[in-house]
């Protein structure tokens, strides 16, 4: 009896959500409906999930389509422009200014101002960058990240606590430079350069699931 109740419950479990989402074929659907006809409790349960589904959709409709947009745009606009783009823009402006002789003086002033801005930008980046990263001469391309120094690609355990990760990274002289991506991976730079030692300690720790050493200038496609 218990077995039969269990198998009925398993049958219900296997098909309930398929039925709700219309992914059962005609035969499966008919068989599931037969099961429902003889089981009041199963019918009630199905009704709750239909109810819950409607509630979720109604709640969703109440969410503004631009939720989080302001913050996203702040991040996008707040990111430092790549140096190459700044120089290109500066050259374009300079050439435009040089096109007419009467603007040569203005262009000269522009050179000074732009030069100061670029120097300021570089100085700001340096100042904002942790000392160890600045020392590691990190370079990144726009579309795919790659690093001039070897890095560790780490996936942390889902239940790892931020505090534990932080304290281990401090001990290893490491800092997260990117992540997490779609696969949940982080890229970590070890300022002391002792990557193999750090990788081993991370592997033995209870916070990391996967640790891979990435050679310099390797593109991190999609990880």
């Amino acid at each position: 009896m218990a077995n039969s109740k269990e198998s009925l419950d398993q049958y219900f479990n296997e098909n309930l959500f398929g039925y709700l989402n219309n992914t059962l074929d005609a035969d499966e659907r008919e068989s599931f409906e037969r099961h429902l006809r003889g089981n009041g409790l199963a019918r009630s349960e199905l009704a709750w999930y239909q109810e819950l589904k409607s509630e979720m959709h109604e709640n969703f409709e109440r969410i503004s389509p631009d939720v989080g947009l302001k913050r996203s745009l702040q991040k996008v606009r707040g990111e430092p422009q790549p140096l190459i783009a700044t120089i290109t823009q500066w050259l374009a402006k300079l050439l435009n200014a040089m096109a007419t002789p009467q603007h040569v003086a203005a262009a000269g002033a522009l050179v000074v101002i732009q030069g100061a801005i670029i120097a300021g930008l570089v100085a700001t980046w340096r100042a904002e960058m942790p000392e160890e990263q600045a020392g590691a001469s990190m370079t990144r391309s726009l579309a795919t990240a790659s690093y001039a120094t070897a890095v560790l690609r780490v996936k942390f355990k889902p239940n790892a606590k931020l505090q534990d990760i932080g304290s281990l990274l401090t001990k290893l002289d490491g800092s997260i430079v990117e992540g997490p991506g779609q696969g949940g991976y982080y890229l970590i730079i070890i300022a002391s350069g002792r990557l193999i030692d750090a990788a081993e300690k991370l592997r033995l720790s209870n916070v990391a699931d996967e640790v891979v050493l990435i050679p310099p200038n390797t593109k991190q496609n999609g990880r």
């Binding site: 009630s44 709750w48 109810e51 819950l52 509630e55 969703f60 989080g68 702040q74 949940g184 999609g222």
Partner: protein, 184 residues
């Protein structure tokens, strides 16, 4: 939005076109928000997850290669951001204890007689009481109508684990609804 259309927008994002980014955000932002909210139960944190997730698209638009639907891929990124938020929190509230899973079916019979508002309040309360992974499974299957195999990929676990999570989730939902009915 079809993947083809998404790819076109991503190409424009790669050229740093903000309107394309805005379009993707408006198309997918609230799905990410709803997913994050279902897991975090906190609107400020959920909004931050949306911003962080969308910013990943801005930084690495070429990382989406169409191996799944764009929304599934995006929810995968969001899930890791959510885990980050959860990591920084204290341990989650205790799960409903196993004894409470004994379902009093007599109490459940009366569910149909409740008014709509009461029913929904009970159901929302009960889904929020579920352990995080089970709640996430139930959310993805009910709202996103995601196939179980895709949920398994997203949760990085075997298909059977997803089935088990859903079975436990159902058991706990029954127990919770029953308890709420008895408590009136």
């Amino acid at each position: 939005m079809e993947n083809k259309e998404v790819f076109e927008l991503l190409e424009r994002i790669a050229k740093r076109e903000e309107p394309a980014f805005r379009e993707v955000h408006l198309a997918f932002g609230r799905r990410v928000y709803a997913f994050a909210l279902s897991r975090l139960q906190n609107s400020v944190e959920a909004e931050e997850v949306v911003a962080d997730t969308m910013y990943e698209i801005w930084k690495h638009p070429s990382r989406f290669r169409g191996e799944s639907s764009f929304s599934t891929w995006l929810l995968g990124i969001a899930r890791h951001k959510i885990l980050n938020v959860l990591r920084s929190r204290s341990p989650e509230h205790a799960e409903i204890d196993e004894e409470a899973n004994q379902v009093a079916s007599d109490a459940l019979d009366g569910f149909g007689a409740l008014v709509e508002k009461q029913k929904r309040e009970i159901l929302l309360h009960c889904i929020n009481e579920l352990p995080a992974e089970q709640r996430e499974c139930l959310y993805l299957v009910l709202f996103e109508e995601m196939p179980l195999l895709e949920i398994a990929r997203l949760q990085n676990c075997p298909l059977n684990t997803v089935k088990t999570r859903l079975m436990y989730a159902r058991g706990k939902m029954k127990a919770c609804v029953s308890r709420c009915m008895m408590e009136g």
